[in-house]
């Protein structure tokens, strides 16, 4: 059974400004988002992720291309005619209205009867656990509470798609983790398609069904968090998602070799010539300096991180490699700067990226 498509962008392009000052924010992006999916647009600031979100919301019209909602072309519809709601980065709660009035605003504007609005508001207040604050004004709430109100307000009209524009970026770490779980719970309970914009790769990995990694107005890769993390398509994706060690080398006759000549074991299918190898720090294993099949390296420094220690090393040709070692109960890893060690990579850990 194939899932039905909730939102689709076809060759969506967005230029700002005119003439010589034109800035292309979105460069002909095509993407399909499934019904009920938690889809994340991930990328550094200025990559076009927020522009794409605003095109879907209807705050901007594309310079060219189309936006579809459940198969219908909504490109020309203004935002108030789209059954799509947004949770804004700044929350944008109405300061003159109470929490309950904020949540009921959408339904009220849709012209729903008062009883239905009140009922929906109560349900939403329960869903985001804010029953006790219904009559407060938004300025009297903490950041996390405002966040919940913004969520409830956007969910109350039961939109077909919920857009979330970096909604957690203003919260502190602990609250952010809590809200991440809460968002997942809300999505599971409501079954609404969520499109989430973030520049936080960890947030994207923990929450999403699928991620689209964006850079300078283009989508570089779309895939599940595992695909994106384990099989990045290029150096940018590999670098942006998590930490990565890069080594340069060649693929010749089905064999991967480093520039310095050592042979590595990697799946090189489809690659030839100069390539970049990528390996995650947690896939780097430190072994004895004289062990067979290990690359010779020197410890540069070790940095303690609580759960693990980052061990910075230098290969013979000067390439920097970081290994992430889980800490023993003693908290010591027994390696000192200047020490000569060997290192190898876990089987299958080495990714080959085209230059």
């Amino acid at each position: 059974m194939s899932k039905s498509i909730a939102v689709e962008a076809r060759a969506a392009r967005k230029d700002y400004g005119t003439g010589a000052h034109t800035v292309r924010a979105l460069d002909g992006v095509s993407v399909s988002i499934d019904q009920g999916e938690f889809f994340t647009l991930l990328g550094p600031s200025g990559c076009g992720k927020t522009t794409l979100l605003r095109l879907i919301a209807g705050f901007e019209t594309p310079t060219s291309g189309q936006i579809f909602l459940e198969g219908q072309d909504i490109t020309a519809d203004p935002p108030n005619l789209r059954p799509i709601n947004t949770v804004f980065q700044s929350y944008a709660l109405f300061p003159h209205l109470s929490v309950a009035e904020n949540i009921g605003f959408g339904l009220q504007m849709m012209g729903r009867p008062k009883a239905e609005v009140n009922h929906a508001v109560e349900k939403m207040l329960a869903l985001v656990q804010l029953e006790s604050l219904a009559s407060r004004k938004s300025q009297q709430l903490s950041g996390g509470q405002q966040q919940r109100v913004a969520l409830a307000r956007a969910l109350a009209p039961r939109p077909k798609v919920l857009l979330l524009d970096e909604p957690l970026s203003a919260l502190d770490l602990k609250l952010r983790k809590e809200m991440q779980r809460e968002l997942k719970r809300l999505q599971a309970e409501t079954g609404i398609t969520f499109i989430f914009v973030t520049h936080d790769q960890e947030e994207a990995l923990t929450m999403s069904d699928r991620i689209a990694v964006m850079q300078s107005g283009n989508i570089l890769q779309i895939g599940s968090p595992r695909e994106i993390y384990n099989h990045p398509v290029d150096r940018f994706v590999a670098d942006f998602i998590g930490e990565t060690n890069f080594l340069t080398g060649r693929v010749e006759a089905g064999r991967a070799t480093l520039t310095s000549g050592e042979v590595l074991s990697a799946d090189v299918t489809g690659h030839a010539g100069k390539v970049t190898f990528a390996v995650r720090p947690e896939q780097v294993v430190i072994c004895a300096a004289d062990e067979a099949d290990c690359l010779a390296a020197t410890i540069v420094e070790t940095v303690y991180f609580g759960t693990d220690t980052h061990c910075h090393m230098r290969l013979g040709d000067g390439t920097q490699i970081v290994a992430r070692l889980q800490n023993a109960p003693s908290g010591e890893i027994g390696l000192a700067p200047g020490e000569a060690v060997g290192l190898r990579f876990e089987p299958g850990a080495l990714q080959v990226l085209a230059q």
Partner: protein, 303 residues
Amino acid sequence: MTSAAEQAADRKARRAGWLLSAPALFLLIIAASGPLIIILIYSFLEPGKYGNVEWVFSTDAWVGILYSRDIFDGTYKLADAHLSIFWRSVKLSLYTTLFAFVFGFPTAWFIATRSPRMRTALLFLITIPFWTNLLVRTFAINQIIRNEGVLNTFLLWIGVIDDPIQLIYTDFAVFLGMTYVYLPLMVLPLFAAFDRFDMRLLEAGYDLYASRWQVLRKIVFPVVKPGVIAGSILVFIPSMGAFVTPRILGGGRNMMIGNFIDLQFGAGRNWPLGAALSVTLLVIVAVALAVYVRFANRDNGHG
């Protein structure tokens, strides 16, 4: 617990505070309440023959606000002329406030949504009329709307009308002049309110199925309401007391309270009545504002 030394230092600081604010307090008390007290006392005295007052207690001035005494049989009748002056003042001031709002609201919005440089320039333009004398500006309007003025000459010339339109020396002329003069006082506080207005609320409104009109009525207007209230007060108060504009544009017949008071201290030679009228004006404005502010704040959040 604070020590005795600390308490002494505290007392000293407090005394120094009072001492330092003494000039301001002195000025406030003398300048704000002094004239008011004098006016209040005058309103309970008898008028002198050639102006000024006789130091004899009398409530004639207060009775004279609403009633006029028949000079032949000494009976009191309701003074229709006075009432019509009061009514005209209130009516024209309300119209002025309303239309200053109608024109000022979009103007302030326009200015607030321009680029910072453009905004500075536009605000500058708004304040330019304050540089010239009110009298000069009012005479300028007189020049435009009088029967032989720019407007009528032009309309006659292009043949739209056969006879000049009687604009000058009507209530409409007074209303027009006051709206023009007091418009900046509405625009500036509204601009300040729009300047603080979070434009992202507009998107939030559209996103939640509100039409443009609903966004204006349900979001923009309630949020900037303090600015609307401030602007209305700033326009309404001077309108009620206006006296140059009705004199020049309203002629002698379309008096407002301000002119009526002026008359008592001048040709009327009835200072106590003028004083009583002044106090009455003060009370009308105070009551109107109290009602307005209470009313405006009451439906806050239930709109």
